[in-house]
Amino acid sequence: MTAWPTMRGAAAAWAPLRLVRSARERLRDFRGRLFIKYVTLFVAVVCVALLANGAFEIWFFYHEHKASQVRIQSEQAEAAADKIGQFVKEIEAQLGWTTQLPWSASTLDQRRVDALRLLRQVPAITEFSQLDPSGRQQIQVSRTALNVIGGGADLSKEPTFIEAKAHKVYYGPVYFRRNSEPYVTIAMAGVRRDDGVSIAEVNLRFIWDVVSQIRVGERGQAYVVDAMGRLIAHPDLSLVLRNIDLSSLAQVKAARTAAMTGAPPPEHEQVAQNLEGSRVLTASARIPSLDWTVFVELPIEEAYAPLYAELKRTAFVLLVALGLAALAGMLLAHKMVVPIQALRAGAARIGSGDLDQRITIDTGDELEALADQFNDMAGRLRESYANLEKKVEIRTHELAQSVEELQALGEVSQAVNSSLDIQTVLSTIVAKAVQISDTDGGAIYVYDEPTGEFRLSATHGMPATLIADIKRIRLFADGNLLGRTMLERRPVQIADLREVNRTPLQEAITRAGYRALIAIPLLRPDQVVGSLIVRRKQPGLLPQSTVDLLQTFGTQSVLAIQNARLFHEIEEKGRQLELESRHKSQFLANMSHELRTPLNAILGYTELILDNIYGETQQKMRSVLERVQINGRHLLGLINDVLDLSKIEAGQLKLSLADYSLEEVVRTVFTGVEALAASKGLAFKTDISPNLPRGHGDERRIAQVLLNLTGNAIKFTDLGEVTINASAHNGSFTVAVSDTGPGIEEADQARIFGEFQQVDASSTRAKGGSGLGLSIAKRIVELHGGRIWVESKPGVGSTFSFSVPVKVAEEAGAAA
């Protein structure tokens, strides 16, 4: 169970941190998305379909409706124009009656009666007059004014008379009586020359009746406009009486231009603004004889009311359909999503490790199949889990065992390493071997090569009697198990001692109660060291793993024995060496003393001679003696060096520690070799840091080192300068001697500190020196607990530096 989350955790650890969000977090993002998706899709599809359909329909409906509206209106306009035309024709017809009789054929009085009857007949005529063929007015009857019979007013020049005579009928312009009553003059002449002209003043208020009765939808209306664009008839009489000029309206203008060009009224001037400024759908028809135009208009809202109603219906249907679609979509999505959610939840549960849950879906389709698969998977996971657990148990157990074994090995190694006493080591080994192999007893036999016998070296868990028995038996390489292992160079087991022919040793063992044993050879590649035995009271073979383990023990034992032996040898050797070294040092010390004594004598006497103690020394003799002196001193130096070195090697060089001033040391050395440098023509200077602390060390030896280095520098430098640097830093003195000599190759730099080394053997002879100086210096410096080194560049120069602690500790001064 615990393996599962850790696997996941491990996987998570591998992935980049910022991309990893838990499945739970992602679920939050996605929850409900599928549902919404389905619903949205469904609704969108329905919506699009309906919208497309609706738009399509409405588009066509609009156009058709508009067209039909305009058609209707045109028809109405035509009908209205017809009616009005008819009305006028009626009047004309009535007028025509009056012109039938030739003028001469009737009396004035007759005409008067006819006129009065005409007035009665045609209410629209307010005034009627008749002109005789010459244009003189003979009759005038009026509804409101006095009738005039006779009179004879000459109207022959009037266009009424002239036009009427010319064209048989004349329509005058619409004029307004008393500025508000629309009238038109209609004059008719008889067909013959002898006929007079009848003139009627027609009150157009009666046309109002016609126009106001025209039904155009609910709020539509018709009106008539004369040739000038003035409103002459309108359902609202008061508008007519106001004598309004409509020629500014677009549709009126269009109709006028159409009338003038003779073309039919334009179609596109269908939507315009009417007198009141509201938008209307308008159509017109012309009354040709009078040159009046009838306009029929319908308010746009009414014209388009069906359209709007249709729109509203469509919108309503759309909404309802959307609602239904949403519902249906939701239902469908719900049906789809619920199983998917169940799957998801189930998978989440399985993912979190709950493998006992089963997902139940009964949709009877692929989703159910998927759920079954999931369940299957969960079941199998559980099985493999169980298997895994078992395996883990086993492995753990094995591991535990291995750990135990390793621990034992570790303990053995520790034991082996912690003691060089071979007996202790072998005892530990056999004890551990018995323990780890879970046996009842064991022993280690060491093979003695010279005698060819196996000796019992260590035992564990064996009774004293058995040990005594074994010790009595002489175990040779052949004739027993031990020998066999030696020969075969591999472990040999006996499962049950009772089953085999027993050797005396095996008899003893059997008697002690052991029935099974195993012998592990302790081998080195070239020889046999011995054998490790473990025994068990129970019969049977040991498992291979234990055998392998015991073999490891065996190897360890071999190593242990080896180590012990070597250790002994080393100890012996060391002791011997020490002895030899002591002898040597003693010898050297003696020798040097023996050597120095005569040499000192030589040097002393030479000195004396040179000091003229024994008389005046001649020049020839002087130079020779000086040469003797030089060589003598040289020899002395060599002997000193050798002695020093032997002391150092013997570990007998001791430092005498005391306070000293480094500055003084440097100055002393400087003074000592100044002359030498000068004789070679070299620049020689010191560079001592101010405020050097007081040192604590062996002043003489340090001076010796510095002297050696400086001497070397001057010796090997032929041109240039030599400088001594002295400084203190971090509790150490650093002294450096730099020169502009030939320099030292890098390869040689390490070598020169070795004994008897100079860079170039040839130059040694030239320059002199024993080659011991640097090695002694190195030892001295190291005794102080410091170090010495060289920096050099061939052809440029060298700098030999050494550093020693300011305060040398007492121990460092002790024997190296």
């Binding site: 009666v113 009065l116 009857r117 007035l119 009665r120 209410p123 307010t126 009026s142 509804r143 409101t144 004014a145 006095l146 009738n147 008393r178 500025n179 508000s180 009553e181 009150n203 208020r205 009666f206 009489l237 008061s238 009486l241 106001r242 004598n243 309503f316 909404l319 309802v320 959307l322 609602g323 949403a326 519902l327 939701m330």
Partner: protein, 328 residues
């Protein structure tokens, strides 16, 4: 829960849709005052009924969205002022003023729109100056043009060719400036026909009797001018005329119907109907200035044959043929 809410919303919307009707704004009940310069007799009631009926046709249902306050002066000039004040004090939306003295009595009211009917000369009556675009709060329908005076004489002359004297019966108290309205045309016609004009002012029934009796001379004709007094006492007048064998011509058909010989004029019922249209317009927000004064158009000639017979007048058939109504 979300889904359920959506469903409810949709369902509710669907159901509510039809009820989101285009509600009409509830009109407050309008008040129309009627000041009728007549008696509430048959003719008076007929006219008011015609007015109300036309308004009903235009959508004004009495009691639902309109209320009428009718006041009858009964032809009594003295009561006009008091009734006018009473009506204006009620603060109606529109006032219908029938006949000139009524309209003139309402001249003080500047705020209430007034539609007059059967007014002879609104300009002279001081109601307005421009009949095409009334600048005040008066508009309406006139009854006669001045020229009608001559026409009356002409017709009377046709009916009774023998007359040489013409008496003009009117009530100067009602409309003092009325007779001048017709006088010019009357005089012109009189000159033409060689007839003498006589004024016969009357005010009370007693005066009527006296005046008519006074006029009873041969070759005398009578023109009765349209005013409330004459209208009020039409039966008396007709009877008196008949009694004294005086041919008379009247302005309105109800005179002829009441026994008068003939009438030539307009049907004032029509004027009331047309006033209703104007009142409707005003109630719908039209301005007075957009409602021009309208003149009469339809004239009718009514002849009472019975009266003619009584007067022993022989009415030529051609004349009869011209009559719009013949009472037998």
């Amino acid at each position: 829960m979300r889904r359920r809410d959506v469903i409810t919303l949709l369902a509710g919307g669907a159901l509510a849709w039809p009820f989101v009707a285009h509600t009409q704004p509830t009109d407050r009940v309008r008040r129309v005052g009627l000041l009728i310069g007549m008696a509430d007799d048959r003719e008076g009631l007929l006219r008011v009924a015609a007015f109300k009926h036309r308004l009903r046709e235009l959508g004004w249902i009495e009691g639902k969205n309109i209320q009428f306050e009718v006041r009858w002066t009964g032809g009594d000039g003295g009561r006009v002022r008091a009734l006018a004040d009473e009506l204006t004090a009620m603060g109606p939306d529109v006032i219908l003023a029938a006949s000139t003295p009524v309209a003139m009595a309402l001249r003080n009211t500047r705020s209430i729109p007034i539609v007059f009917a059967v007014v002879t000369d609104p300009i002279n009556a001081g109601l307005l100056a421009n009949p095409n675009r009334p600048e005040g709060n008066f508009t309406g329908f006139t009854n006669f043009e001045p020229s009608i005076g001559g026409k009356w004489l002409e017709i009377l002359k046709e009916l009774a060719p023998s007359i040489t004297r013409l008496a003009i019966v009117f009530d100067p108290a009602n409309r003092p400036d009325l007779s001048p309205h017709y006088r010019p045309s009357l005089e012109a016609a009189a000159r033409k026909f060689g007839v003498t004009l006589i004024d016969a002012p009357v005010h009370t029934p007693a005066e009527i009797e006296r005046a008519v009796a006074h006029l009873a001379q041969p070759s005398t004709g009578v023109i009765v001018l349209p005013d409330s007094t004459t209208a009020q006492h039409r039966e008396l007048l007709a009877a008196s005329m008949a009694e004294h064998h005086l041919p008379a011509i009247y302005p309105y058909n109800y005179f002829a119907r009441s026994g008068g010989l003939a009438s030539y004029g307009i049907d004032t019922v029509e004027l009331f109907r047309r006033s209703a249209v104007y009142v409707d317009r005003i109630l719908n927000g039209w301005k007075i200035a957009d409602l021009p004064v309208q003149m009469p158009t339809k004239f009718e000639f009514v002849v009472n044959l019975k009266a003619a017979k009584a007067l022993e007048l022989d009415i030529p058939p051609s004349l009869l043929a011209r009559a719009d109504e013949v009472i037998e």
